[in-house]
């Protein structure tokens, strides 16, 4: 088991390195750098001005060198400008006394760089946004996992019954509804003061405000309430829910046809006891993997929903970084998301081995 985890960690590290290098390479292509120089300097820069701007800031070094500097395994660049008599570099700004200049600064040293869009250190920016998205994800998981499991177990306990067919149709419908579709429908139906059910409810005096829910989650960043936070959470949960529910149903139906369930039934155990005590534990092994593997997919949903509901979290940050080619921010964002993907894969593998005693990894 230990060896297995170590090997997996090695592959993980390699994957993360490869992926960050790909992101690094794509963001550091010359047209992207040119755009960066023009947005940071001014838009009417001549080609020479662009080249000297980029050259001064170390962008024109060979790709592996730049990547090494970003990682912190190579010394950062230093530019000495004769005419202005100043020296600045990757790791220190102009005017830093020579004794305090550090040579290495990269991810390994804990320095994630500087965001050109937000004019702030990347590390704290990502951390605050990540905390906001963490709140969203926690609510999503709290809503999605229990409801998906309940739907799956109810559908799977009597295969082919009316309940099964209704719930299966429901889960197919949710998997067919991407977030940008369900979000749009929810806002139009539940959060519009002119259409849908909110005007009706307001007229009858059933709700205090103008709308049943708020169509924008910006205020939920500081203070999340049911009113302003439920729609984004529901939108993400629905899309992921259908898949988990279908997997749970499949695993539940398989367990319900097993020999030991038949034995229990013949012994005269109550049906509710069979489902809750005998079937449920074995039926939940497969969905565990699915739930863990679903988390990276939630990341996609988070990006869409945060854009749609204007919730300034991690997904929103990704969109901002990517659309403005904010290289160091984008790299940090992709490192975080790649780590999320790989860690959830690892957890699902290890968890599966622990939960299912029939599998042993030597």
């Amino acid at each position: 088991m230990g060896l297995f985890i170590i090997r997996r960690l090695g592959v993980m590290l390699l994957t993360a390195l490869c992926l960050t290098f790909i992101v690094f390479w794509l963001t550091n292509l010359y047209p992207n750098l040119e755009k960066l120089a023009k947005t940071q300097g001014n838009f009417r820069m001549s080609d020479e001005a662009v080249a000297s701007y980029l050259g001064d800031r170390g962008y024109l070094q060979p790709m592996p060198v730049k990547f090494g500097q970003w990682l912190g395994v190579l010394p950062g660049w230093v530019t000495e400008r004769e005419e202005a008599d100043e020296t600045f570099g990757r790791c220190f700004s102009a005017g830093t006394p020579e004794a305090e200049r550090s040579t290495f600064c990269g991810v390994i040293q804990g320095d994630w760089g500087f965001s050109t869009v937000f004019k702030d250190e990347v590390g704290p920016t990502v951390a605050t946004r990540l905390a906001l998205t963490g709140k969203l994800m926690l609510c999503v998981l709290l809503l999605m996992v229990p409801s998906a499991l309940i739907v799956g177990v109810l559908a799977g306990m009597r295969e082919g019954s009316k309940l099964d067919r209704s719930l299966s149709t429901f889960s197919i419908a949710t998997t067919a509804t991407p977030e940008y579709v369900s979000g749009v429908i929810f806002i139009a139906v539940l959060a519009s003061s002119k259409f849908g059910i909110s005007p009706l409810l307001a007229e009858w005096g059933w709700i205090d405000g103008k709308t049943l829910f708020l169509g924008s989650a910006t205020s939920a960043m500081a203070d999340a309430t049911f009113w302003n936070f439920f729609l984004p959470v529901l939108t993400i949960s629905l899309y992921g829910m259908g898949y988990i529910a279908r997997m749970t149903r499949a695993s539940m139906t398989e367990v319900m046809t097993a020999q030991y369930i038949r034995t229990a039934r013949l012994k005269g155990v109550k049906f509710s006891d069979i489902v809750l005590k005998h079937a449920l534990r074995n039926a939940l092994i497969a969905p565990f993997t699915v739930i863990m593997l679903q988390i990276p997919w939630l990341l996609n949903g988070v990006v869409i929903v945060e854009t749609l509901f204007n919730y300034k979290g991690f997904g929103w940050l990704l969109v901002q970084a990517a659309s403005n080619n904010d290289i160091e921010l984008l790299l940090a964002v992709s490192v975080v998301s790649v780590i999320v993907v790989l860690v959830t894969q690892l957890i699902s593998d290890i968890g599966y081995v622990y939960l299912n005693p029939r599998i042993r990894i030597s």
């Binding site: 509804t177 749009v184 969109v319």
Partner: protein, 488 residues
């Protein structure tokens, strides 16, 4: 002119319709609740000595719910048929039903032909034994016909999908067209969007973009996945390790980040999408070359002309796909000449190419994993061992022994994956990536409409529902196919 209501002079039917829906919902809920308590029906002895469970309350209820469901379907058909005859007299639905008349005819023809000959049509015919599969197939074919007729032949649409009409900005569904001339369609059936264009016509035009790109991209993804997945599964070993690592690498990428990195104008400038296209689109050519060669290499007199004809045609298509205005890649640093413009019969605008390439790129690793898993499983079968004993070549075994036996899961996954590709295309449109902003595809339209969502939701709701129904149809179709392919 009066604005249209949703059902016009058929409004009297609405009350029946809502009662029917309420009863149906109530019936299903009661049925579910009844199924939770153990059935108490007695046993009845029939005259011939057989024992039958009495239907009891649950059976009676099931009977009622069935009839309510039939009534519901019949009422929808009544709306449709009356709408076709009365046109806009039957409101917006009537107007749409009449506009879509060619689609209904095509659907009826397809279904009657298929059901008549279903025993001779293999898996496709078996689809018509499953209700779920038929519903899914009907929805999918509806959008396919609507897309082809509207997009290629310019039927169905009421107005030009790009021109703006003064005074129609953000108008509600059913608003009469201001200053309509003789011969113009008099209404905006689904209203106007925020640039005063007709939502209904854009919906139909957008269907064509989706119906064209999604299946094509999925086919290419399958070609890539199959061509790489079969040897990975069959040979295993180091090849498998390397290919699987690469596939996992792409799969670990958040899709949206990948899109943002690939589908920006700056990256298009560097020509990376063109290189990717050149690599990804070569796979169908390789696939068919190996497929035909492995089968006919024992008969060179037949094989050689066949390969020349097939590969010649495919190479031509390949070159015209990847080259544009006579060049494959053209920027400051590199210029790779492609097919001359005269021979270039597939117009591939750069923005469509980028979208196409990125969707294929995202989908192929998943297909690769599925094919690899199937190949790993099937290669242990006896018929593979028999073929190996006969001395067949490796590629013959992969393509003519393993692949046909893996077709069931692959066809099902193909349907699901078209749906997933549709969702991906919508995602691209939603973030305003790739296609131009005036493109009528559903994702871009949702993106354009979402800004005014709480005031004028119709412009975003119409494409949202369209996308939902198409993906739902594909999912149901896949479910029906899975059920039927498991049966034999």
């Amino acid at each position: 002119m009066e604005p249209l209501t949703w059902t016009g002079s058929l409004a009297g039917l609405n009350i029946i319709f809502s009662i029917l829906i309420a009863l149906l919902a109530l019936g299903i809920v009661v049925q579910i609740l009844l199924s939770l308590v153990p059935s108490t029906g007695g046993r009845a002895m029939a005259a011939d000595g057989t024992l039958a469970a009495e239907k009891g309350a649950a059976g009676f209820l099931g009977f009622i719910v069935n009839w309510l469901f039939f009534g519901f379907i019949a009422l929808i058909l009544i709306y449709l048929v009356l709408g076709i005859f009365m046109g806009t007299g039957a409101g917006i639905f009537g107007g749409m039903a009449r506009q879509l008349l060619p689609v209904w005819i095509a659907l009826i023809v397809t279904f009657s032909l298929s059901i008549t000959f279903k025993r001779r049509l293999g898996l496709y015919g078996k689809l018509f034994d499953s209700t779920v599969g038929m519903i899914g197939f009907a929805i999918v074919m509806f959008w396919v016909f609507a897309g082809v007729m509207g997009g290629v032949f310019d039927m169905l649409v009421t107005h030009d999908s790009l021109s703006q009409f003064s005074g129609m900005k953000n108008k509600l569904p059913g608003t009469p067209l201001r200053g309509a001339e003789e011969g113009d369609f008099q209404w905006f059936l689904l209203g106007g969007d925020n640039l005063a264009r007709d939502v209904f016509s854009r919906l139909i035009k957008g269907a064509w973009v989706v119906v064209l790109i999604a299946p094509m991209a999925t086919i290419f993804a399958f070609m890539v996945g199959i061509t790489l997945g079969l040897p990975a599964g069959y040979y295993s070993g180091r090849l498998d390790t390397i290919l699987s690592f690469l596939a996992n690498l792409i799969l670990a990428f958040p899709v949206i980040l990948l899109f943002y990195l690939l589908v920006t104008p700056e990256i298009v400038l560097t020509g990376i999408p063109n290189y990717m296209a050149a690599v990804l689109f070569i796979f169908p050519v390789i696939f068919f070359a190996v497929l035909l060669n492995s089968r006919y290499y024992t008969q060179p007199s037949f094989r050689t002309p066949l390969l020349i004809v097939v590969l010649g045609g495919m190479m031509w298509a390949y070159l015209s796909l990847i080259s544009n205005d006579g060049v494959i890649v053209s920027n400051d640093n590199v210029l790779i000449p492609g097919l001359p413009e005269i021979l270039d019969w597939i117009p591939m605008p750069p923005e469509i190419l980028v979208v196409f390439v990125s969707v294929v790129f995202v989908n192929s690793p998943t297909v690769f994993r599925i094919v690899r898993g199937l190949a790993l499983d099937i290669k242990t079968r006896d018929y593979v061992a028999a073929a190996q004993t006969r001395g067949e070549g490796a590629w013959y075994i992969m393509l003519w022994e393993i692949l046909p036996n893996a077709r069931g899961p692959l066809i099902v996954d193909f349907c699901l994956r078209i749906g997933y590709t549709t969702i991906l295309l919508g995602t691209l449109g939603f973030f305003g990536l790739g296609l131009e902003s005036e493109s009528p595809d559903w994702g871009s339209t949702i993106n354009a409409g979402r800004r005014l969502l709480s005031l004028y939701p119709h412009a975003a709701i119409a494409p949202a529902l369209a996308l939902l129904s198409l993906v739902l149809g594909l999912n149901l179709l896949a479910d029906g196919l899975r059920e039927e392919s498991l049966r034999d």
